[in-house]
């Protein structure tokens, strides 16, 4: 109960600030928080990255294991994306099976990668109909200060940039082999606060906003995933403007954090 009142107070504060053209942490509306991406930090994983976006911190690990292909695509590898909102990361997260927020987080990141065909699944076939590589992308949230999607999506692609295929561990031919990444989708999330579009909402902004949109786009300007959030609505103009901003911001993030 007490917390609910604090939520209301905080929401009013965020809206007041935005009306005056400001944000809680002093950023411009279209600015990201400071971002840090560290790659290959988990030795046991085939690829990994830690992304810090302001105080939000997400660790992504990629593991490859041989497994059975789906019957309708016997010569293609499989991508499995999972997200864990572990209780260490927020007073609001509870241990237990995935809830709708963690499922949504994983599925949006997954759609971005799948839609952009970033991972060439044809190259992950070991033995047609019998054995293919299963690519597990595991998103481990360490600190939730808002906008987990962008941090997780960036972490996923950063992890996938340099994945070593563990042929030797499973007694397979192929030796030292790196997985080819053929696209670099980047997620940009925005919220609508009182008619203004804010990029990279922090936790308080995310809670205060009625609606938000994630736009996942590729270097050629195509969109590979969209997802609207929240209990409010967005106008056609707001959605198209968000898509435009999303594509532009994705380009900036890609150049800064995903170019060699």
């Amino acid at each position: 109960m007490g917390l609910e009142i604090m939520d209301d107070v905080r929401r009013d504060y965020i809206y007041d600030l935005v009306r005056g053209g400001r944000r809680e942490d002093g950023r411009a509306f279209l600015d990201y928080r400071e971002i840090k991406v560290e790659r290959d930090i988990i030795k046991r994983a085939e690829g990994s990255a830690r992304v810090k976006m302001g105080n939000t911190e997400v660790l992504v690990g990629v593991k490859l294991e041989p497994g059975e292909p789906f019957p309708d695509s016997p010569d293609k590898g499989v991508i499995i994306t999972n997200a864990e909102l572990v209780p260490l990361a927020s007073p609001e997260f509870e241990p237990g099976p995935p809830n709708e927020d963690s499922v949504q987080l994983a599925r949006v990141v997954d759609r971005g990668i799948r839609g952009s065909e970033a991972i060439d699944l044809d190259k992950l076939c070991i033995e047609e109909g019998e054995k293919v590589w299963i690519v597990f992308i595991d998103i481990h949230v360490l600190d939730n200060d808002g906008n987990l999607v962008d941090a997780a999506a960036l972490g996923a692609i950063a992890s996938l940039l340099n994945v070593r295929i563990p042929n030797e561990r499973y007694g397979l031919d192929g030796g030292e082999e790196t997985m080819v990444l053929s696209n670099k989708p980047v997620a940009v999330t925005m919220v609508d606060i009182g008619g203004e579009i804010l990029v990279d909402p922090n936790y308080n902004e995310e809670k205060a906003a009625l609606s938000g949109l994630t736009v996942i786009s590729n270097p050629d300007g195509t969109i590979s995933a969209l997802q609207k959030y929240g209990n409010g609505s967005l106008s056609e103009d707001a959605v198209t403007e968000m898509v435009e901003i999303g594509i532009e911001k994705a380009g900036e993030l890609r150049r800064t954090f995903l170019e060699p």
Binding site: L213, A225, L226, G232
Partner: protein
Amino acid sequence: MKEEGLELIKGGKRLDGRSFDELRQIRIEVGVLKRADGSCYFELGDNKVIAAVYGPREMHPRHAQDAKMAVLKYRYNMAPFSVDERKRPGPDRRSVEISKVSREALEPVIIKEYYPKTEIDVYVEILQSDAGTRTAGINAASVALADAGIPMKDLVSSVAVGKIDGEIVLDLNAVEDNYGEADMPVAMIARRNAITAIQMDGCMTRSEFEKGLKMAMNACQKIYELQRTALIERYSEM
């Protein structure tokens, strides 16, 4: 993804004979269930969907109650026989996400402040599936909520657009969805042009996206009229 030689568009028409911006046949029946407070049966082409609404009723567990407003719950569930390959009963990750997105699509129109500490339950069962089930579910749920007498500011209408053989088309069927290049479900408050849900996966350029959004928004106006007519017919009979 696509099989060689499978053409989804021939001579400017789709495989089922529709033009690019043509909806499938829609049938709406209001108040089809006896025990539910409100219900709706919705057909969209070969999709057969039924929605039921219970409540507002006391919320359990009590600690989950909201002192200021009702809590809206939404459960999207596929019958095991609704798809070619039997679906294992119970919630999977896909239906968890669809339930969340669908609930958020309806939240903006429901006046929850009238019923603090209660819950409003929306149950959507997919009986037969042919792509577009989440949009059919939202359309059915919106009508069922109205049928249950839940105070609402408006109805919500929903449809998907997608890309097949490089063309933006309305309301994909299962074949088009399986072999198409993109799928974008949209829900909106048709009379206010307010978008309450949008998702997309696949690959679209910005201009394709804008064209698709316009196409979906136009179609939602048509669906809204059908929903409204169905409700009026139901209550003028009585």
